[in-house]
């Protein structure tokens, strides 16, 4: 049916260069939906594609379809600020995000696709005595979980970011540094997983929106889509902002509310900042893309909305602290601004869970910071779907925790003010 895909290498690059790059294969097939699959993954973002990839690669399930209502990585995967870190407070989160970090570290090789993962170091600034106490507690907790975490003084911050204004309205007292933190190219993550999953036989079906679930005896039997019914023994929903909409189709509610979250990038400039700097207290985080744009993450709007547009006042509240911390950026022009819909839980931790419908699994609630977890999330979700029992790392993130009270409160580590 399909031509055996050729791996990317220095030789294929040279060969195609001689051919004016006319000879490259398409990275994945444009599959037509079959009548039935063993597993259907709803949502073709990073997490969904990663789930499909690990199902095919590690769980021996290649009869998998990924259905996506728009285009691959067109949701939050292509809208985030590309930051990767694992410096979370609680043991459960450390397990999950560090699992992801370890997969990030070998991901380009594993996928045979350069996801441009760059461990450039990530600073979390502290602006007050209380901030210092918070990073003290969190930094030591992270360290005890075997994750790299260093305390740096404001002078060391100045050495890393020479143009920072330490003596601003909320002076910088110190920072928490995760040297293994950094950024990755978000689109490449979606494309890399899509190509690798496709190579293993996964059908990727774009422009195919799920409009309902076929449920018999409280067991899912398939999904209704804009391209017809697709039968499935198991269904995994990885749809971020729209998870409540899908849950309603399946007949239950989630402990989630969806909010707009914005980001913006500046015009490209020469390399000026070689790490990621974030500040939860005044809500300013910034990094520089390989194209030279400064990537700035804004806060979320406080009201529920699916509009994929945030308020202008949020941008003002974001740019203000950036200029205060980095006066040198005051005359930069902003090139683009956009919004996504983030699915926020009360405890700022995700849901990776079974649902009241048998064989229907949900992976959502990543809120404002899901990109960093993409490989780990897909990995544990794939194993959970395969066995029908939640992977030990995913177990604490069940929907049930909102009934038992075993919340995983990551409000302080979440970085985005809500």
């Amino acid at each position: 049916m399909s031509v055996k895909p050729k791996p990317y290498s220095i030789f294929s690059l040279a060969r195609n260069a001689l051919n004016y790059h006319q000879g490259w294969q398409k990275a994945w097939r444009n599959a037509e939906p079959k009548r039935d699959y063993e597993v259907v993954i709803v949502g073709g973002g990073g997490h969904g594609l990663a789930t499909a990839y690990y199902l095919a690669k590690e769980c021996g399930i290649r009869d998998v379809a990924v259905v996506e209502k728009g285009w691959l990585g067109g949701g939050n995967t292509g809208r985030n600020t590309t930051i990767v870190r694992s410096n979370y407070l609680w043991d459960e989160s450390a397990g999950l995000y560090e699992h992801a970090m370890k997969l990030w570290e070998g991901l380009s090789t594993d996928l045979n696709y350069n996801v441009m993962f760059s461990q450039r170091g990530l600073l979390h600034l502290a602006h007050s005595v209380h901030d210092m106490q918070e990073i003290g507690r969190r930094g030591n907790a992270i360290y005890l979980n075997g994750i790299d975490s260093e305390f740096v003084t404001s002078q060391q911050v100045k050495e890393m970011v020479p143009f920072i204004n330490l003596d601003c309205r909320y002076p910088v007292h110190g920072a928490l540094l995760q040297k293994r933190g950094g950024t990755a190219r978000h689109d490449a993550v979606a494309w890399g997983y899509a190509r690798a999953a496709d190579n293993l036989g996964v059908d990727i079906i774009q422009n195919c929106e799920v409009t309902g679930f076929q449920v018999e005896d409280s067991t899912v039997k398939g999904v209704e889509t804009t391209r017809g019914r697709i039968g499935a023994k198991k269904v995994g929903c990885v749809v971020a902002g729209h998870c409540s909409v899908l849950a309603e189709m399946a007949g239950f509610r989630l402990p989630i509310e969806s909010f707009p979250l914005q980001a913006l990038v500046s015009e490209p400039v020469k390399p000026i900042i070689d790490c990621v700097v974030m500040s939860g207290a005044i809500h300013a985080y910034i990094s520089q893309s390989d194209k030279g744009e400064l990537v700035i993450g804004a806060g979320s709007d406080a009201y529920l909305s699916y509009s994929q547009r945030g308020g202008f006042d949020i941008i003002e509240h974001t740019v203000g602290p950036i200029i205060e911390l980095y006066p040198i950026f005051s005359r930069l022009k902003m090139l683009r601004q956009w919004g996504g819909v983030v699915d926020v839980t009360v405890d700022r931790s995700p849901l990776i869970s079974k649902t009241p419908v048998k064989n229907l699994f949900f992976n959502c609630g990543w809120g404002t910071g899901g990109f960093k977890a993409t490989p780990g999330s897909g990995h544990v979700f794939a194993h959970s779907i395969k066995t029908g029992d939640m992977h030990p790392i995913a177990e604490p993130f069940s929907i049930n925790r909102f009934n038992t009270g075993a919340l995983i409160d990551e409000g302080a580590a979440a970085a985005v003010a809500h």
């Binding site: 409540s244 909409v245 309603e248 509610r253 969806s258 909305s305 006042d313 009934n403």
Partner: protein
């Protein structure tokens, strides 16, 4: 930014208000008799609809009074606002609560 009609103060910028989530959730009269499922459901589980949403807002930087808003979360159009002691108003899909 939204333009919101406070039932007491009239149209004001959204920055004067705070959004407070889904409206018309009654606190159970007998919390100690509820199961974990019922209590968790009351505290944390929400409709989170894409479409018409009944929600509470408070005029934090104005009269500081609470009221309800009917807003479409897909378009951000506000259909109506009403006081807590008023009945839920009827509205049509086209109607938008904006100053003339």
């Amino acid at each position: 930014m939204l333009l919101i009609k406070c039932p007491w103060c009239g149209y004001r910028d959204q920055s004067e208000f705070s959004a407070q989530g889904e409206a018309h959730i009654a606190r159970p009269v007998n919390p100690h008799e509820l199961s974990e499922e019922q209590w968790g459901d009351y505290l944390f589980f929400r409709k989170n609809p894409k479409g018409v949403h009944y929600e509470r807002w408070v005029h934090s930087h104005g009269c500081r009074r609470w009221f309800n808003v009917i807003r479409n979360t897909a378009t951000d159009h506000i259909h109506a606002t009403y006081r807590p002691d008023e009945p839920v108003p009827e509205f049509s899909d086209e109607e938008t609560d904006q100053p003339a």
